[in-house]
Protein backbone atom coordinates (compact mmCIF):
# COMPACT_ATOMS: atom_id res chain seq x y z
CA UNK A 1 0.00 0.00 0.00
CA UNK A 2 1.30 3.44 -0.89
CA UNK A 3 1.48 6.41 1.40
CA UNK A 4 -1.05 9.14 0.82
CA UNK A 5 1.39 11.90 1.70
CA UNK A 6 5.14 11.94 1.69
CA UNK A 7 7.08 15.04 2.55
CA UNK A 8 10.78 15.46 3.02
CA UNK A 9 12.70 18.37 4.44
CA UNK A 10 9.95 20.96 4.05
CA UNK A 11 11.21 24.47 4.68
CA UNK A 12 9.17 27.65 4.67
CA UNK A 13 10.30 31.11 5.66
CA UNK A 14 8.19 34.17 6.30
CA UNK A 15 10.17 37.39 6.32
CA UNK A 16 13.32 35.63 7.46
CA UNK A 17 11.55 33.64 10.16
CA UNK A 18 11.61 29.89 9.70
CA UNK A 19 8.07 28.63 10.04
CA UNK A 20 9.09 25.18 8.90
CA UNK A 21 12.60 23.96 9.42
CA UNK A 22 12.95 20.62 7.63
CA UNK A 23 9.74 18.72 8.26
CA UNK A 24 9.54 15.08 7.18
CA UNK A 25 6.09 13.58 7.18
CA UNK A 26 4.35 10.42 6.06
CA UNK A 27 0.63 9.78 6.10
CA UNK A 28 -0.45 6.20 5.55
CA UNK A 29 -3.35 5.68 3.16
CA UNK A 30 -6.58 5.16 5.05
CA UNK A 31 -5.16 6.26 8.40
CA UNK A 32 -5.40 9.44 10.45
CA UNK A 33 -2.20 11.37 10.94
CA UNK A 34 -2.44 13.79 13.85
CA UNK A 35 -0.13 16.79 13.77
CA UNK A 36 0.10 18.07 17.30
CA UNK A 37 1.64 21.34 18.34
CA UNK A 38 1.04 24.73 19.94
CA UNK A 39 0.21 27.92 18.07
CA UNK A 40 2.98 28.95 15.73
CA UNK A 41 4.58 25.51 15.58
CA UNK A 42 4.03 25.24 11.82
CA UNK A 43 0.90 23.08 11.65
CA UNK A 44 -1.08 25.37 9.39
CA UNK A 45 1.93 26.12 7.20
CA UNK A 46 2.39 22.38 6.70
CA UNK A 47 -1.24 21.95 5.71
CA UNK A 48 -1.09 24.91 3.33
CA UNK A 49 1.94 23.49 1.57
CA UNK A 50 0.40 20.04 1.28
CA UNK A 51 -2.83 21.52 -0.09
CA UNK A 52 -0.94 23.57 -2.75
CA UNK A 53 -1.83 26.94 -1.19
CA UNK A 54 1.80 27.71 -0.37
CA UNK A 55 5.01 26.86 -2.13
CA UNK A 56 7.71 25.43 0.09
CA UNK A 57 11.07 27.22 0.07
CA UNK A 58 12.82 23.89 0.39
CA UNK A 59 12.18 20.16 0.39
CA UNK A 60 9.48 18.40 -1.57
CA UNK A 61 6.19 16.67 -1.01
CA UNK A 62 3.92 14.32 -2.89
CA UNK A 63 0.22 13.81 -2.32
CA UNK A 64 -1.27 10.67 -3.83
CA UNK A 65 1.98 10.38 -5.77
CA UNK A 66 1.77 13.88 -7.27
CA UNK A 67 4.23 16.64 -6.56
CA UNK A 68 2.57 19.57 -4.76
CA UNK A 69 4.66 22.14 -6.61
CA UNK A 70 4.84 20.69 -10.11
CA UNK A 71 1.43 18.99 -10.29
CA UNK A 72 -0.85 21.16 -8.16
CA UNK A 73 -3.94 20.49 -10.26
CA UNK A 74 -3.52 16.72 -9.84
CA UNK A 75 -3.12 17.21 -6.11
CA UNK A 76 -6.24 19.36 -5.90
CA UNK A 77 -8.23 16.61 -7.58
CA UNK A 78 -7.56 14.36 -4.59
CA UNK A 79 -7.93 16.60 -1.58
CA UNK A 80 -10.50 18.29 0.59
CA UNK A 81 -9.50 21.14 2.89
CA UNK A 82 -11.20 22.35 6.02
CA UNK A 83 -9.28 25.32 7.28
CA UNK A 84 -8.99 26.76 10.72
CA UNK A 85 -11.75 29.27 10.09
CA UNK A 86 -14.96 28.05 8.57
CA UNK A 87 -14.57 29.23 4.99
CA UNK A 88 -18.19 29.36 3.96
CA UNK A 89 -20.07 32.20 2.32
CA UNK A 90 -21.98 33.77 5.18
CA UNK A 91 -24.59 35.36 2.91
CA UNK A 92 -25.32 32.16 1.02
CA UNK A 93 -27.52 29.42 2.45
CA UNK A 94 -26.09 26.07 3.42
CA UNK A 95 -27.54 24.52 0.28
CA UNK A 96 -26.21 27.27 -1.98
CA UNK A 97 -22.74 26.92 -0.48
CA UNK A 98 -22.65 23.21 -1.25
CA UNK A 99 -24.29 23.48 -4.67
CA UNK A 100 -21.71 26.08 -5.68
CA UNK A 101 -18.80 23.77 -4.84
CA UNK A 102 -20.51 20.85 -6.55
CA UNK A 103 -21.08 22.87 -9.72
CA UNK A 104 -17.45 23.98 -9.70
CA UNK A 105 -16.44 20.34 -9.46
CA UNK A 106 -18.46 19.49 -12.56
CA UNK A 107 -21.71 18.12 -11.09
CA UNK A 108 -24.73 19.00 -13.19
CA UNK A 109 -27.61 20.88 -11.57
CA UNK A 110 -29.54 17.81 -10.43
CA UNK A 111 -26.45 16.00 -9.18
CA UNK A 112 -25.30 19.11 -7.32
CA UNK A 113 -28.68 19.45 -5.58
CA UNK A 114 -28.66 15.78 -4.66
CA UNK A 115 -25.13 15.92 -3.31
CA UNK A 116 -25.95 19.04 -1.25
CA UNK A 117 -29.07 17.40 0.20
CA UNK A 118 -27.13 14.24 1.01
CA UNK A 119 -24.37 16.14 2.79
CA UNK A 120 -26.73 18.42 4.71
CA UNK A 121 -28.54 15.36 5.95
CA UNK A 122 -25.35 13.66 6.94
CA UNK A 123 -24.16 16.65 8.93
CA UNK A 124 -27.54 17.25 10.55
CA UNK A 125 -28.04 20.53 8.74
CA UNK A 126 -31.11 19.58 6.72
CA UNK A 127 -33.36 21.97 8.63
CA UNK A 128 -30.87 24.80 8.24
CA UNK A 129 -30.14 24.20 4.56
CA UNK A 130 -32.34 27.08 3.44
CA UNK A 131 -30.94 29.60 5.89
CA UNK A 132 -27.95 31.88 5.27
CA UNK A 133 -24.80 30.51 6.88
CA UNK A 134 -24.42 33.69 8.92
CA UNK A 135 -27.33 32.53 11.07
CA UNK A 136 -25.52 29.28 11.96
CA UNK A 137 -23.83 28.55 15.26
CA UNK A 138 -20.07 28.00 15.33
CA UNK A 139 -20.49 24.23 15.34
CA UNK A 140 -22.94 24.31 12.43
CA UNK A 141 -20.60 26.46 10.37
CA UNK A 142 -17.75 24.03 10.94
CA UNK A 143 -19.97 21.18 9.87
CA UNK A 144 -21.01 23.05 6.73
CA UNK A 145 -17.37 23.83 6.02
CA UNK A 146 -16.47 20.18 6.42
CA UNK A 147 -19.39 19.19 4.18
CA UNK A 148 -18.11 21.64 1.56
CA UNK A 149 -14.70 19.99 1.59
CA UNK A 150 -16.30 16.57 1.07
CA UNK A 151 -18.47 17.45 -1.93
CA UNK A 152 -16.04 15.92 -4.42
CA UNK A 153 -15.49 12.81 -2.30
CA UNK A 154 -11.80 13.44 -1.77
CA UNK A 155 -9.50 10.53 -1.02
CA UNK A 156 -7.55 12.74 1.37
CA UNK A 157 -8.91 15.27 3.81
CA UNK A 158 -7.03 18.01 5.64
CA UNK A 159 -8.58 19.15 8.89
CA UNK A 160 -6.81 22.17 10.33
CA UNK A 161 -7.79 22.47 13.98
CA UNK A 162 -11.34 21.34 13.33
CA UNK A 163 -12.52 21.70 16.92
CA UNK A 164 -10.69 24.81 18.13
CA UNK A 165 -13.28 27.11 19.68
CA UNK A 166 -16.07 24.54 19.69
CA UNK A 167 -18.08 23.60 22.76
CA UNK A 168 -17.64 20.00 24.02
CA UNK A 169 -20.88 18.83 22.44
CA UNK A 170 -19.98 20.12 18.97
CA UNK A 171 -16.50 18.76 19.41
CA UNK A 172 -17.78 15.26 20.11
CA UNK A 173 -19.96 15.54 17.03
CA UNK A 174 -16.97 16.51 14.94
CA UNK A 175 -15.00 13.55 16.25
CA UNK A 176 -17.81 11.18 15.32
CA UNK A 177 -17.80 12.61 11.80
CA UNK A 178 -14.06 12.11 11.44
CA UNK A 179 -14.33 8.49 12.61
CA UNK A 180 -17.08 7.95 10.06
CA UNK A 181 -14.95 9.30 7.26
CA UNK A 182 -12.06 7.09 8.23
CA UNK A 183 -14.28 4.04 8.16
CA UNK A 184 -15.21 5.07 4.62
CA UNK A 185 -11.54 4.83 3.73
CA UNK A 186 -10.63 8.50 3.67
CA UNK A 187 -7.10 9.41 4.66
CA UNK A 188 -7.11 12.27 7.17
CA UNK A 189 -4.42 14.73 8.16
CA UNK A 190 -5.58 16.43 11.32
CA UNK A 191 -3.87 19.26 13.13
CA UNK A 192 -4.70 19.96 16.73
CA UNK A 193 -3.52 21.64 19.87
CA UNK A 194 -5.16 19.02 22.03
CA UNK A 195 -3.45 15.82 23.01
CA UNK A 196 -6.82 14.30 23.81
CA UNK A 197 -8.07 14.96 20.28
CA UNK A 198 -5.00 13.41 18.70
CA UNK A 199 -5.32 10.49 21.08
CA UNK A 200 -9.00 10.00 20.21
CA UNK A 201 -8.66 10.19 16.45
CA UNK A 202 -5.14 9.64 15.21
CA UNK A 203 -3.42 6.40 14.27
CA UNK A 204 -0.09 8.17 14.12
CA UNK A 205 0.92 11.37 15.84
CA UNK A 206 3.61 13.81 14.89
CA UNK A 207 4.56 16.53 17.33
CA UNK A 208 5.68 19.84 15.85
CA UNK A 209 7.55 22.55 17.68
CA UNK A 210 9.07 25.60 16.07
CA UNK A 211 8.77 24.10 12.62
CA UNK A 212 10.52 20.88 13.58
CA UNK A 213 9.25 17.39 14.22
CA UNK A 214 10.17 16.62 17.81
CA UNK A 215 8.38 13.33 18.17
CA UNK A 216 6.59 10.78 16.08
CA UNK A 217 4.74 7.61 16.89
CA UNK A 218 1.48 6.06 17.93
CA UNK A 219 -0.67 7.73 20.60
CA UNK A 220 0.41 4.97 22.98
CA UNK A 221 4.07 5.69 22.48
CA UNK A 222 3.51 9.38 22.98
CA UNK A 223 1.54 8.90 26.15
CA UNK A 224 4.11 6.54 27.54
CA UNK A 225 6.54 9.39 27.33
CA UNK A 226 4.22 11.90 28.94
CA UNK A 227 2.22 9.68 31.27
CA UNK A 228 -1.23 8.34 30.53
CA UNK A 229 -2.92 10.48 33.16
CA UNK A 230 -1.95 13.11 35.63
CA UNK A 231 -2.87 12.83 39.28
CA UNK A 232 -3.48 16.19 40.85
CA UNK A 233 -3.84 16.89 44.56
CA UNK A 234 -4.66 19.90 46.68
CA UNK A 235 -4.66 19.72 50.47
CA UNK A 236 -6.99 21.73 52.71
CA UNK A 237 -3.99 22.99 54.62
CA UNK A 238 -1.15 23.78 52.24
CA UNK A 239 1.26 23.02 55.08
CA UNK A 240 0.42 19.36 54.64
CA UNK A 241 1.32 19.36 50.97
CA UNK A 242 4.97 18.30 51.42
CA UNK A 243 3.81 15.31 53.46
CA UNK A 244 1.21 14.43 50.82
CA UNK A 245 3.85 14.77 48.13
CA UNK A 246 6.06 12.23 49.90
CA UNK A 247 3.16 9.79 50.19
CA UNK A 248 2.27 10.06 46.50
CA UNK A 249 5.89 9.66 45.52
CA UNK A 250 6.10 6.48 47.56
CA UNK A 251 3.02 5.00 45.85
CA UNK A 252 3.67 6.04 42.27
CA UNK A 253 7.45 5.91 42.43
CA UNK A 254 7.47 8.84 40.00
CA UNK A 255 8.80 12.34 40.63
CA UNK A 256 6.02 14.59 41.95
CA UNK A 257 5.92 18.22 40.98
CA UNK A 258 4.58 20.67 43.51
CA UNK A 259 4.15 24.41 43.25
CA UNK A 260 3.31 24.81 46.94
CA UNK A 261 -0.44 24.62 46.40
CA UNK A 262 -0.99 21.76 43.97
CA UNK A 263 0.97 18.57 43.52
CA UNK A 264 0.82 16.60 40.30
CA UNK A 265 2.42 13.48 38.96
CA UNK A 266 2.10 11.45 35.76
CA UNK A 267 0.57 8.02 36.35
CA UNK A 268 0.16 5.12 33.97
CA UNK A 269 -1.95 2.90 36.20
CA UNK A 270 -5.14 4.31 37.67
CA UNK A 271 -5.08 1.61 40.35
CA UNK A 272 -2.72 3.83 42.34
CA UNK A 273 -5.58 6.21 43.12
CA UNK A 274 -7.28 4.18 45.92
CA UNK A 275 -3.88 3.38 47.39
CA UNK A 276 -2.98 7.06 47.48
CA UNK A 277 -6.30 7.94 49.12
CA UNK A 278 -5.90 5.19 51.74
CA UNK A 279 -2.41 6.27 52.72
CA UNK A 280 -3.29 9.96 52.82
CA UNK A 281 -6.17 9.08 55.12
CA UNK A 282 -3.92 6.99 57.38
CA UNK A 283 -1.51 9.89 57.76
CA UNK A 284 -4.34 12.29 58.52
CA UNK A 285 -3.92 14.49 55.46
CA UNK A 286 -7.12 16.46 54.76
CA UNK A 287 -7.62 16.27 50.99
CA UNK A 288 -9.15 19.37 49.41
CA UNK A 289 -9.20 18.11 45.85
CA UNK A 290 -7.95 14.96 44.17
CA UNK A 291 -8.33 14.29 40.49
CA UNK A 292 -7.08 12.29 37.56
CA UNK A 293 -6.89 14.06 34.23
CA UNK A 294 -5.31 13.75 30.81
CA UNK A 295 -1.93 15.42 30.49
CA UNK A 296 -2.08 18.78 28.77
CA UNK A 297 -0.17 19.58 25.62
CA UNK A 298 2.09 21.62 27.83
CA UNK A 299 2.96 18.57 29.91
CA UNK A 300 3.57 16.47 26.82
CA UNK A 301 5.87 19.15 25.53
CA UNK A 302 7.64 19.29 28.81
CA UNK A 303 8.17 15.56 28.72
CA UNK A 304 9.34 15.61 25.11
CA UNK A 305 11.38 18.76 24.95
CA UNK A 306 12.08 19.81 28.49
CA UNK A 307 10.47 23.18 27.84
CA UNK A 308 6.89 24.25 28.01
CA UNK A 309 4.78 24.86 24.95
CA UNK A 310 3.87 28.35 26.06
CA UNK A 311 7.33 29.80 26.63
CA UNK A 312 9.54 27.90 24.23
CA UNK A 313 12.28 30.49 23.93
CA UNK A 314 13.43 30.26 27.52
CA UNK A 315 15.48 27.15 27.98
CA UNK A 316 16.85 28.49 31.23
CA UNK A 317 15.29 26.38 33.95
CA UNK A 318 13.58 23.25 32.74
CA UNK A 319 14.98 21.30 35.67
CA UNK A 320 13.79 23.69 38.31
CA UNK A 321 10.44 24.29 36.69
CA UNK A 322 9.35 20.69 36.88
CA UNK A 323 11.53 17.85 38.06
Amino acid sequence: MTDAIRAEGLVKEFKGERALDGVDLTARTGAVLGVLGPNGSGKTTTVRILSTLLRPDGGHATVGGFDVVRQPHEVRRQIGLTGQYAAVDAELTGTQNLVLIARLLGFDRAQARARATELLERFELSDAGGRPAKTYSGGMRRRLDLAASLVGRPALLYLDEPTTGLDPHSRNGMWAVVRDLVSDGVTVLLTTQYLEEADQLADDIMVLDHGRVISQGTPEELKNQAGDQVLELRTVDSGQLPLATKIIEAVTSAPVHSDGLVANVPVNDVAVLPEVVRRLDEQGVAVGELSLRKPSLDEVFLALTGHSAEAPDTDDAPEGARP
Partner: protein, 276 residues
Protein backbone atom coordinates in the same frame (compact mmCIF):
# COMPACT_ATOMS: atom_id res chain seq x y z
CA UNK B 1 7.47 6.59 -6.26
CA UNK B 2 3.95 5.68 -5.44
CA UNK B 3 1.21 5.18 -7.95
CA UNK B 4 -1.87 7.22 -8.61
CA UNK B 5 -4.55 6.90 -5.97
CA UNK B 6 -7.81 8.25 -7.28
CA UNK B 7 -10.23 6.17 -5.31
CA UNK B 8 -13.61 7.71 -4.92
CA UNK B 9 -14.49 7.65 -1.28
CA UNK B 10 -16.03 9.62 1.55
CA UNK B 11 -19.51 8.54 2.40
CA UNK B 12 -21.92 6.37 0.48
CA UNK B 13 -21.81 5.85 -3.21
CA UNK B 14 -23.13 8.26 -5.76
CA UNK B 15 -22.14 9.97 -8.95
CA UNK B 16 -18.78 11.68 -8.84
CA UNK B 17 -18.07 13.62 -11.99
CA UNK B 18 -14.74 13.02 -13.59
CA UNK B 19 -12.65 16.06 -12.77
CA UNK B 20 -10.82 17.09 -15.92
CA UNK B 21 -7.10 16.42 -16.07
CA UNK B 22 -6.35 19.85 -17.40
CA UNK B 23 -8.02 23.23 -17.29
CA UNK B 24 -9.28 24.27 -20.69
CA UNK B 25 -10.34 27.83 -21.59
CA UNK B 26 -13.90 26.51 -21.69
CA UNK B 27 -13.62 25.26 -18.13
CA UNK B 28 -12.24 28.65 -17.07
CA UNK B 29 -15.32 30.34 -18.53
CA UNK B 30 -17.62 27.78 -16.90
CA UNK B 31 -15.99 28.17 -13.49
CA UNK B 32 -16.06 31.95 -13.90
CA UNK B 33 -19.78 31.90 -14.62
CA UNK B 34 -20.48 29.59 -11.69
CA UNK B 35 -18.72 32.04 -9.43
CA UNK B 36 -20.63 34.91 -11.05
CA UNK B 37 -23.75 33.12 -9.88
CA UNK B 38 -22.27 33.24 -6.38
CA UNK B 39 -21.79 37.01 -6.62
CA UNK B 40 -25.35 37.50 -7.83
CA UNK B 41 -26.68 35.34 -4.98
CA UNK B 42 -24.78 37.56 -2.58
CA UNK B 43 -26.44 40.65 -4.02
CA UNK B 44 -29.84 39.01 -3.63
CA UNK B 45 -29.02 37.94 -0.07
CA UNK B 46 -28.18 41.50 0.91
CA UNK B 47 -31.16 43.71 0.13
CA UNK B 48 -29.73 46.34 2.49
CA UNK B 49 -26.77 46.67 0.17
CA UNK B 50 -29.02 47.14 -2.85
CA UNK B 51 -30.91 49.70 -0.84
CA UNK B 52 -27.61 51.49 -0.20
CA UNK B 53 -26.86 51.34 -3.91
CA UNK B 54 -30.21 53.03 -4.48
CA UNK B 55 -30.06 55.60 -1.74
CA UNK B 56 -26.74 57.17 -2.59
CA UNK B 57 -27.69 58.14 -6.16
CA UNK B 58 -31.03 59.52 -4.94
CA UNK B 59 -29.18 61.67 -2.46
CA UNK B 60 -26.47 62.75 -4.89
CA UNK B 61 -28.84 63.63 -7.71
CA UNK B 62 -31.13 65.60 -5.44
CA UNK B 63 -28.34 67.44 -3.64
CA UNK B 64 -26.35 68.33 -6.74
CA UNK B 65 -29.32 69.37 -8.83
CA UNK B 66 -31.09 71.46 -6.23
CA UNK B 67 -28.13 72.80 -4.24
CA UNK B 68 -25.73 73.63 -7.07
CA UNK B 69 -28.07 73.78 -10.06
CA UNK B 70 -29.02 77.41 -10.01
CA UNK B 71 -25.56 78.67 -9.07
CA UNK B 72 -23.99 76.60 -11.83
CA UNK B 73 -26.20 77.25 -14.80
CA UNK B 74 -28.86 79.77 -13.88
CA UNK B 75 -31.63 77.26 -13.40
CA UNK B 76 -31.66 73.77 -11.95
CA UNK B 77 -33.33 72.15 -14.96
CA UNK B 78 -30.41 72.97 -17.25
CA UNK B 79 -27.92 71.69 -14.71
CA UNK B 80 -29.98 68.54 -14.18
CA UNK B 81 -29.64 67.64 -17.86
CA UNK B 82 -25.93 68.42 -17.82
CA UNK B 83 -25.41 66.48 -14.60
CA UNK B 84 -27.32 63.24 -15.23
CA UNK B 85 -24.73 61.52 -17.47
CA UNK B 86 -21.98 62.69 -15.10
CA UNK B 87 -23.66 61.43 -11.98
CA UNK B 88 -24.43 58.04 -13.54
CA UNK B 89 -20.73 57.73 -14.35
CA UNK B 90 -19.70 58.91 -10.89
CA UNK B 91 -22.04 56.46 -9.10
CA UNK B 92 -20.81 53.50 -11.12
CA UNK B 93 -17.15 54.46 -10.84
CA UNK B 94 -17.43 54.76 -7.07
CA UNK B 95 -19.19 51.41 -6.95
CA UNK B 96 -16.16 49.74 -8.57
CA UNK B 97 -14.26 49.98 -5.33
CA UNK B 98 -16.68 47.32 -4.06
CA UNK B 99 -14.86 44.77 -6.21
CA UNK B 100 -11.57 45.22 -4.41
CA UNK B 101 -13.36 45.41 -1.10
CA UNK B 102 -15.21 42.12 -1.48
CA UNK B 103 -12.19 40.31 -2.93
CA UNK B 104 -10.15 41.43 0.03
CA UNK B 105 -12.90 40.16 2.32
CA UNK B 106 -12.89 36.77 0.61
CA UNK B 107 -9.16 36.49 1.18
CA UNK B 108 -9.49 37.54 4.80
CA UNK B 109 -12.26 35.06 5.52
CA UNK B 110 -10.39 32.15 3.93
CA UNK B 111 -13.00 31.63 1.21
CA UNK B 112 -10.36 32.02 -1.49
CA UNK B 113 -8.31 29.28 0.16
CA UNK B 114 -11.22 26.95 -0.43
CA UNK B 115 -11.45 27.97 -4.11
CA UNK B 116 -7.72 27.70 -4.55
CA UNK B 117 -7.66 24.20 -3.11
CA UNK B 118 -10.25 23.07 -5.67
CA UNK B 119 -9.31 21.70 -9.08
CA UNK B 120 -10.74 24.73 -10.89
CA UNK B 121 -9.33 27.51 -13.05
CA UNK B 122 -7.23 29.77 -10.88
CA UNK B 123 -8.55 33.01 -12.31
CA UNK B 124 -12.20 31.90 -11.96
CA UNK B 125 -12.85 33.57 -8.58
CA UNK B 126 -11.57 36.85 -9.99
CA UNK B 127 -13.70 36.57 -13.12
CA UNK B 128 -16.74 35.64 -11.04
CA UNK B 129 -16.30 38.63 -8.75
CA UNK B 130 -15.95 41.08 -11.62
CA UNK B 131 -18.81 39.78 -13.76
CA UNK B 132 -21.03 39.67 -10.67
CA UNK B 133 -20.18 43.27 -9.93
CA UNK B 134 -21.25 44.30 -13.42
CA UNK B 135 -24.75 43.23 -12.41
CA UNK B 136 -24.44 45.51 -9.41
CA UNK B 137 -23.38 48.43 -11.61
CA UNK B 138 -26.25 47.86 -13.98
CA UNK B 139 -28.58 48.18 -10.99
CA UNK B 140 -26.86 51.45 -10.07
CA UNK B 141 -27.32 52.84 -13.58
CA UNK B 142 -31.03 52.02 -13.53
CA UNK B 143 -31.47 53.60 -10.10
CA UNK B 144 -29.85 56.90 -11.02
CA UNK B 145 -31.84 57.04 -14.25
CA UNK B 146 -35.09 56.43 -12.39
CA UNK B 147 -34.33 59.30 -10.01
CA UNK B 148 -33.44 61.52 -12.97
CA UNK B 149 -36.64 60.66 -14.81
CA UNK B 150 -38.59 61.37 -11.65
CA UNK B 151 -37.31 64.93 -11.54
CA UNK B 152 -38.00 65.54 -15.20
CA UNK B 153 -34.90 64.37 -17.05
CA UNK B 154 -35.95 63.54 -20.62
CA UNK B 155 -32.89 62.52 -22.65
CA UNK B 156 -33.16 63.49 -26.32
CA UNK B 157 -31.10 60.49 -27.34
CA UNK B 158 -34.05 58.30 -26.47
CA UNK B 159 -33.92 54.69 -25.36
CA UNK B 160 -31.14 53.76 -27.78
CA UNK B 161 -28.94 56.65 -26.70
CA UNK B 162 -29.44 55.80 -23.03
CA UNK B 163 -28.76 52.09 -23.56
CA UNK B 164 -25.56 52.74 -25.50
CA UNK B 165 -24.47 55.23 -22.84
CA UNK B 166 -25.15 52.63 -20.15
CA UNK B 167 -23.18 50.02 -22.09
CA UNK B 168 -20.24 52.44 -22.33
CA UNK B 169 -20.10 53.18 -18.62
CA UNK B 170 -20.40 49.46 -17.82
CA UNK B 171 -17.49 48.75 -20.15
CA UNK B 172 -15.44 51.44 -18.47
CA UNK B 173 -16.45 50.08 -15.04
CA UNK B 174 -15.34 46.61 -16.14
CA UNK B 175 -11.91 48.09 -16.88
CA UNK B 176 -11.78 49.90 -13.53
CA UNK B 177 -12.80 46.69 -11.75
CA UNK B 178 -9.44 45.17 -12.62
CA UNK B 179 -7.74 48.14 -11.05
CA UNK B 180 -9.93 47.75 -8.00
CA UNK B 181 -9.20 44.02 -7.86
CA UNK B 182 -5.47 44.76 -8.08
CA UNK B 183 -5.72 47.18 -5.15
CA UNK B 184 -7.87 44.68 -3.27
CA UNK B 185 -5.23 41.99 -3.64
CA UNK B 186 -2.38 44.27 -2.58
CA UNK B 187 -4.03 45.82 0.46
CA UNK B 188 -3.92 43.99 3.74
CA UNK B 189 -7.47 44.64 4.89
CA UNK B 190 -10.80 45.50 3.25
CA UNK B 191 -10.76 48.84 5.10
CA UNK B 192 -7.41 49.76 3.55
CA UNK B 193 -8.90 49.06 0.12
CA UNK B 194 -11.71 51.46 0.83
CA UNK B 195 -9.54 54.36 1.91
CA UNK B 196 -7.09 53.87 -0.92
CA UNK B 197 -9.88 53.67 -3.48
CA UNK B 198 -11.41 56.89 -2.18
CA UNK B 199 -8.12 58.73 -2.62
CA UNK B 200 -7.91 57.44 -6.17
CA UNK B 201 -11.54 57.83 -7.25
CA UNK B 202 -12.37 61.27 -5.85
CA UNK B 203 -9.92 63.24 -8.01
CA UNK B 204 -10.65 60.98 -10.97
CA UNK B 205 -14.37 61.72 -10.97
CA UNK B 206 -14.46 65.29 -9.66
CA UNK B 207 -11.51 66.32 -11.81
CA UNK B 208 -13.50 65.46 -14.92
CA UNK B 209 -16.38 66.88 -16.90
CA UNK B 210 -18.86 64.99 -14.73
CA UNK B 211 -19.97 67.97 -12.65
CA UNK B 212 -18.36 71.01 -14.27
CA UNK B 213 -17.06 71.64 -17.78
CA UNK B 214 -13.23 71.65 -17.82
CA UNK B 215 -13.48 75.03 -19.67
CA UNK B 216 -14.57 76.56 -16.36
CA UNK B 217 -11.59 75.18 -14.45
CA UNK B 218 -8.35 77.08 -13.75
CA UNK B 219 -5.64 76.97 -16.41
CA UNK B 220 -3.51 74.27 -14.75
CA UNK B 221 -6.44 71.95 -14.10
CA UNK B 222 -8.38 72.34 -17.35
CA UNK B 223 -6.00 70.30 -19.56
CA UNK B 224 -5.72 67.58 -16.94
CA UNK B 225 -9.49 67.34 -16.61
CA UNK B 226 -9.96 67.45 -20.38
CA UNK B 227 -7.70 64.43 -20.81
CA UNK B 228 -9.01 62.50 -17.84
CA UNK B 229 -10.48 59.21 -19.11
CA UNK B 230 -13.58 59.87 -17.02
CA UNK B 231 -14.14 63.07 -19.04
CA UNK B 232 -14.18 61.03 -22.25
CA UNK B 233 -16.71 58.60 -20.79
CA UNK B 234 -18.94 61.38 -19.50
CA UNK B 235 -18.69 63.36 -22.75
CA UNK B 236 -19.63 60.27 -24.73
CA UNK B 237 -22.61 59.56 -22.47
CA UNK B 238 -23.67 63.19 -22.61
CA UNK B 239 -23.51 63.20 -26.41
CA UNK B 240 -25.48 59.96 -26.60
CA UNK B 241 -28.13 61.16 -24.18
CA UNK B 242 -28.38 64.82 -25.05
CA UNK B 243 -26.90 65.08 -28.55
CA UNK B 244 -23.55 66.36 -29.78
CA UNK B 245 -20.33 64.91 -31.17
CA UNK B 246 -20.43 61.20 -30.37
CA UNK B 247 -17.61 59.57 -32.32
CA UNK B 248 -14.60 61.24 -30.64
CA UNK B 249 -15.39 60.62 -26.99
CA UNK B 250 -16.75 57.12 -27.70
CA UNK B 251 -13.50 56.10 -29.40
CA UNK B 252 -11.51 57.57 -26.53
CA UNK B 253 -13.64 55.67 -24.03
CA UNK B 254 -13.06 52.40 -25.88
CA UNK B 255 -9.32 53.09 -26.08
CA UNK B 256 -9.07 53.89 -22.38
CA UNK B 257 -11.14 50.85 -21.39
CA UNK B 258 -8.85 48.59 -23.39
CA UNK B 259 -5.71 50.20 -21.99
CA UNK B 260 -6.84 50.01 -18.38
CA UNK B 261 -7.97 46.40 -18.78
CA UNK B 262 -4.75 45.44 -20.57
CA UNK B 263 -2.63 46.93 -17.81
CA UNK B 264 -4.58 45.98 -14.71
CA UNK B 265 -6.06 42.58 -15.52
CA UNK B 266 -2.64 40.88 -15.68
CA UNK B 267 -1.57 42.81 -12.60
CA UNK B 268 -4.70 41.76 -10.72
CA UNK B 269 -4.24 38.12 -11.70
CA UNK B 270 -0.59 38.30 -10.72
CA UNK B 271 -1.38 39.85 -7.33
CA UNK B 272 -4.15 37.31 -6.80
CA UNK B 273 -1.82 34.38 -7.43
CA UNK B 274 0.86 35.83 -5.27
CA UNK B 275 -1.40 36.53 -2.31
CA UNK B 276 -0.68 33.92 0.37
Amino acid sequence: MSTVTTRPSAASSGPVPQIPQRISPLLTVQNGLQLTWRSVLKIKANPEEVFGLMLQPVMFVTLFVFVFGQAMMGDWQTYRDFLMPGIIAQSVIFATMGTGFSLSQDVEKGIFDRFRSLPIARSAPLIGAILGDLVRYAITVVMVLVVGLAIGFRPEGGVVGVLVAAALILLFAFALCWMSAFVGMLARTPMAVQSFAMILLFPLTFGSSAFVSPDDMPGWLAPIAANNPVTHVVDAMRALMLGGDVAGPVIWTLVWSVIITAVFSPLAVWAYRRRT
